[in-house]
Amino acid sequence: MFSADASVLTAIDQAIIVFYLVAVLVMGVFFSRYVKTSGDFFLAGKSLPFWAIGMSVVVSDIGAIDMVAGAGSAYKYGLAQANFDWLGSVPAMIIVAFVFVPFYWRSGVCTLPEFLGRRYGMIVRELQAVIWLGFLVSMLAVMLWSSAVFLNEILGLPTFWGIWLTVAIVGVYTVLGGLTAVVLTDVIQTVIMFVGAGALLLLSYWKIGGWNQLVATVTERGPEFADHFKLLLPNSTTSPYPWSGILFGLGIVLSTAYFSSNQAVIQRVLGARSEWHAKASMLFAAFLKLLVPVLIILPGLTALALHPSLEDPDRAVPRLVADLLPPGLMGLVFAAFFAALMSSVDSYLNSSTTIIISDGYRPISTWLKGTAPSDRQCLVLGRILTVVLIVAGGIIAPAINQFETIYSAMQTMFSLFQGPTLALLVLGVFWRRTNSTGAIIGLTTGVLLSMCLNLVGDKLFPSDDPFLFIAFWTFVYSLIVTSLVSAFTAPPSETQTKGLVWGSIVDDPASQAVLRARLDTPENE
C-alpha cells in the first residue's frame, strides 16, 4: 500500500512517528490511576465530557483503511462517496441523540444485546452478542494486520514485530486505562488526524490551483467524469450509490442501525458525565462529520486531477503524500494514519470485552451461582479478557492475509443483520405489544431474506452491488413480520416491558427498581 513511499521517509519523519507512539503509550499509562471499579474501566466512571466522546466516536469510525479506500472510492465514483459521512450520518445521529441515547441511559443497559435480551429474552440476546462479538473480534485481527503491513511499508519493520508492537502499545493503554484511556487518546488522535489530512488537502489544492480548477480538470477528462462532483446519482446508475439507495437504504436504515447499535458508539456515549453530555456528544460528532469527507474524499478527487491514470484507485492518497509533502509533515501524516488505526483497534478491543462481560459472563455467572458477580471480579476479568483478546488478535492477524475471503464473508454476514436488527430495536422501543415470538421470527426470517436477496440482488435491483436496497427491504420485511406475529400471539406482560418501552415511566422509582432487580435476578436473564 505504501511501499513506494517508504524510501522517502526521512529521519525526522520516523522520529515524529516514534515520538507519537511513545506519547500515546505514556498517556494511556497515566490514565490507569483513575480506574478503580468495573464502571471506571467499561464506562470511564461516567465522567467523560461531550467533546471528548464526540471526537472519539468520529475517529473510531475512521480507520486508516477508510482514509485510503475512501479516497480511492472518491477517485473512482466521485463525491457520492461523501454521502456515507453526510446523509448517512447526520439524521441518524440526531435520532440516536434524542431517542436512543436517553432510552439506553435511563433504562440502565450498556449493550444492545442486553436491551434486546431484556425485551425479547435470552435467545435474542445471545444471538446478537455472538453476531457483534464475531464482527468485533474479526475486525480486531484485520486492524492488527493492517497496522503490521503499514509499519512494514513505512518503517521497514517486519510484520511479526509490527503486529506485536501494536498489540503492546494499544494493549497496555487499554488494559490499564480502560474506556477513559481509549477516549482521551482518541482525542489526541483526532487532532493529529485532522491536522495531517488537512495539510495534505491544502497542499494538493495549492498544487492544483483551487476548487474551480479542480472541477474543470476532472470534468474535462471525459463524459464518465461528468457526475464526479454530484452527491446524488441517478437511480439507474450501476455504481453502488444510486440516490434512492442512499436515501432509503443508507439514510434511513443502515446509518440508524449503525449508530444505535454499534457497541463502540453506545459505550462511549454511556460513559458521559450526564444525559445532556451523552446527547450533546452525538451532535458534536455530527458537526465533526461535516469535515470528514473534506479531509478524506477530496484528496481522492485532487489525486484524480493530478494523477488521472492510476491503475489502483487506493493508491491515490499514498501518491499524493509522496508527491506533495515535505520532510516532517510526511511523518505527521503517517502518524495520522497510524492514529486512525490505533483508535479503531482500541475501540474494537474495549467493546468486545464489554460484550463478553455484560452479555456472557454476568448473566451466565448469575444463572449458575444465583447471584451477580462482584464488581471486583468484573474489573479483573475485564482486564484479563482485554489481554487475551488482543493477544488472540495478534496470533490470528497473520492468517487474515491468507483468508481474505473469510473476512469478506464475515463483513457480508454482518451487513445481513442490520435491517432486521433495527426493526427489532425500533419495535421493541416504541411498541409495547411486540413479543419475543415475533422478534425471533422477524429476526431469523429477515436474515434469511437478506441472504437470499444477496444471492439474487443483481436481478432485482439496478445497482451492481445492491446492499443499500437489500438493507432497506429487509428492514421493511422484518418490521411487518415482527408486528404481524406479535399481534397474533400473546402480548408480553406489563412487568416484562416496564421501563423498557418508550412512554413507560422510566424515571419512576418503581420502574427503576424493576430494572435494577432484573440485572441481578437469574430468572430474568
Partner: protein
C-alpha cells in the same frame, strides 16, 4: 449451491420483480430536482422534529439552562451546512 441459487432466483425474482420494477421505473423517471428535494426534506424533517421536544428533556443532566446548552439550537445550526451542501451539489 448453484441449484439452490437457481431455485431462490426463480422463486424470489418471480415474486418480487413485478413489485420492484414499477417502483424502480417510477424512481428512474423522477428529475434530479426531485432527488434533491427528497433528500433536503429528509434532512429537514430529521432535524425539525427536535424543536417539539420539551425543554425539560433537552436540558436533562445539564447544570445551566443557557441558550448555548439548548440542544435544539445545536441541531438547527448543525443542519444548515448539510442543507447547503445538498442544495449546491
Amino acid at each position: 449451491m448453484e441449484s439452490l441459487t437457481n431455485t431462490i432466483e426463480s422463486v424470489l425474482v418471480r415474486i418480487l420483480k413485478p413489485f420492484l420494477d414499477p417502483l424502480h421505473g417510477f424512481m428512474d423517471q423522477l428529475p434530479p430536482s426531485m432527488w434533491r428535494i427528497s433528500v433536503c426534506l429528509f434532512l429537514l424533517l430529521g432535524a425539525l422534529w427536535t424543536l417539539f421536544l420539551s425543554r425539560e428533556s433537552v436540558f436533562r443532566g445539564c447544570k445551566t439552562q443557557s441558550k448555548w446548552a439548548d440542544l435544539r439550537i445545536w441541531v438547527c445550526v448543525l443542519i444548515v451546512p448539510y442543507l447547503l451542501i445538498y442544495l449546491i451539489f
